[in-house]
Symmetry: C2
Subunit: 445 residues, 2 copies
């Protein structure tokens, strides 16, 4: 019997637990799930005989040690900042490790130690990062094998609400950590390269410079640029490519209104507002509008928005900025924290709502003196509020990778991500059988 130790039972762990327990007999495995909440674990394992609930603190090195020692494989679904200490333990006890998170510099620094310990630390194997790597590399490797030369690669991904449940003027609901959505794009400028020219978009223009994509059967999307598109040149073996761009999808109109939130200052997270606990949503908004002895907050916002082509005012109104309401009661809050509170009240998934994950790649390459274009897209809908699309698209690649490691099908060691054919090909093939499928089109241009 093999043991898998899964750290964390939240969000995407649902899909990992279901997949691995469904395959538990075939793989002869037992799944140990660690979470502080036994209720959360049992709600997902359903007390399956091949599962065990461990309510230890995963961050307590002594408490987790006996379970780590027993495990054949560790999956860390903890917040990314905790992966490093888990990875160090895995090296110490010589256990393979999977995380869906970006490889941090601290994790990268463990590469040689992991190799010496004979273990694999597989990362970036959920979605964005994960399925994007695998589906892009499948096409990049194919084009290379044909002798093609890649000229342009653009890639987009977005977690949205499924069309059937898209019933608010933002055409958006939170399907993941709201804080990340509120802070999206902050920090340095977004950087990409277009026709060999480096391009930088500062945060304050990020939601104003949009790309537009239409996907058959799912309508139109707009995209803002991700922070760093450049690093994917070396990751994907595309050094010297003239154009590379990665973006995040929203539905049309979202970004123009979000840009107004940014312009107003509502998304700032680098200072605390005076007496923030006393602010109602209306007062919060008014703090960013000029003083006027008689004009209402509504009128001042209309002045601010100017020509309102995308019904931006309606979007603010939907968020209950203007209603008489109680103070939000959050002490020492930044504008971003207060905005998040306002958004979560109105843009959360309702009971019965389903989410949607959309991915779209566009490649342009030269082959035999001709220019070719491949597009590849995947749209995946959630099953319900536990097995959301976000949970499935993050969790299933992790779970399939876990299966392959137990089966001895992955020989890799060290700190890795799923960009090798031996890894991505079987995972993409199995995802396809699970409804996470890419549709590819190719044309000469």
């Amino acid at each position: 019997m093999k043991n898998i130790l899964l750290l964390g039972a939240g969000l995407s762990s649902s899909s990992i637990i279901r997949y691995l327990l469904e395959h538990s007999l075939e793989l002869n495995l037992e799944l140990l799930v660690v979470d502080q909440s036994e209720e959360l674990i049992l709600s997902k394992t359903m007390s399956h005989p091949r599962s065990q609930a461990l309510t230890i603190n995963a961050l307590d090195a002594e408490a987790r040690k006996p379970h780590l020692l027993k495990a054949d494989l560790v999956i860390s679904m903890l917040p990314a900042r905790f992966h490093t200490e888990i990875a160090k333990d895995c090296i110490l006890y010589k256990k393979n490790l999977i995380t869906p998170s970006y490889i941090s510099p601290e994790i990268m620094a463990l590469h040689d130690e992991a190799i010496n310990a004979g273990i694999l630390i597989m990362n970036e194997i959920g979605v964005d990062p994960g399925i994007d790597h695998m589906s892009a590399m499948a096409i990049i490797d194919k084009v290379k094998a044909q002798g093609g030369k890649m000229h342009s690669f653009k890639s987009f991904c977005g977690g949205l609400v499924a069309p059937e449940f898209d019933n608010n003027p933002w055409h958006y609901k939170f399907t993941w950590n709201p804080r990340n959505v509120v802070l999206a794009g902050q920090g340095g400028a977004s950087c990409f390269i277009e026709e060999n020219q480096y391009k930088y978009i500062p945060y304050r223009r990020l939601f104003k410079r949009l790309d537009h994509v239409t996907i058959d059967g799912f309508g139109e999307f707009e995209a803002y640029a991700n922070r760093d598109s450049l690093k994917y040149r070396s990751i994907y073996g595309l050094e010297g490519i003239p154009t590379i761009y990665r973006g995040t999808f929203r539905r049309p109109g979202y970004s123009e209104a979000w840009s107004q939130m940014i312009d107003l200052g509502l998304t700032d997270d680098n200072y605390v507002m005076d007496q923030s606990e006393k602010l109602t949503p209306r007062q919060f908004l008014n703090a960013f509008l000029p003083y006027h002895p008689t004009r209402s907050v509504e009128d001042k916002l209309k002045d601010f928005l100017g020509e309102d082509k995308s019904n931006m005012f309606e979007k603010f109104q939907f968020l209950d900025f203007f209603a008489d309401a109680a103070p939000m009661g959050i002490q020492n809050a930044s504008p971003a924290q207060l905005l998040q509170e306002i958004l979560v009240r109105k843009l959360s998934l309702s009971k019965g709502d389903k989410d949607m994950l959309v991915m779209y790649h566009e490649f342009v390459y030269h082959l035999n003196g001709e220019q070719h274009r491949i597009t590849s897209h995947m749209v995946n809908l959630g099953e319900d509020q536990t097995y959301t699309s976000m949970s499935n698209t993050v969790g299933l690649p992790v779970a399939i990778c876990a299966k392959m490691i137990l089966q001895g099908k992955i020989a890799l060691k060290g700190v890795q991500m799923p960009i090798m054919k031996d890894v991505y090909e079987p995972i993409l093939a199995e995802l396809d059988t699970l409804g996470i499928s890419f549709i590819e089109k190719e044309e000469k241009i």
Copy 2:
């Protein structure tokens, strides 16, 4: 004979040195000037018999110790971050200290130790901070003494080029550290209070929400909000005042064009541009404009600027953004560093140019059921490129304060700023004789 130890011979030290040497016989003082450059010291002391040039490193505690021990008073004109270690030495050796800089939390923490050592650490006694404190407190104390209740206090200050030498479309030249000008307003939002409403202006809107002031004989000014106006409520004893606002003056049109620099992303200082050393000004600008296969950088900037009410394009053109030029050659540069290089080439004071310091206060208060308004302004022109207005307005209050301390006219101990009548009254009176004069107007409204 008394000894004054002056640390640093740059910028405003010129006016301190001249003033103290002019008064050296009367005060029976010797001035020891510390700077790494003997040439710089001698260019300012003119080898005056009551001066000594010390080319030690002021940051070397052992090297400065014998001179500190000999001194009756220390003036630190070093960059503000070095004041703390100097202040600690002054406490250790029981020497009074003057700095023109803002009181940092580290300096504030030394208050009790300074009192126990029986010394005064006088800070914020240059200009903004300094003369602004003194001239505001003179009016605030007067109104209070009459029994008036302050309703509104707005205060503005700006270092500009004198009208006679105002010959570029920005109507601006650097009279102080260009880096501070490029980074002005970055960090948290600017915060003030208007009719009891807290107002926050994020950086990206700072140069769009302007105040306008006309000063007789000097024309129009526009002002953007300083970072933190709120702290002046407690400093000036104005707790509970409904309106308090501090701003920085520019000439009309500057801010709208500067706001475009911000929107483009040219002022960002939180990341480094790839291969920055290879960028010409034109390429630097183009990196922030969308890619287009045929449109020129000029046309793309015009698209970006939109309706150009303030001749913004002309302002960009004046900075030589479009000319064929050599790469700027600055490695690992942020956008802000590259922009500074471009600005310094075109917006520095030319030989023979004079600068101008402008300060303007507006007070509204209630007295005996009536509403009163006092305005007070000061416009000071530089003498030449050594005794600039910036040097005189920063250096002279420091020097006068030094004189008063030597004469035993200031009994204060601990960490202080010049907000007490005993301090500000004689200093303002002497500044008036030196051409740094306020003109006050009062009216019922």
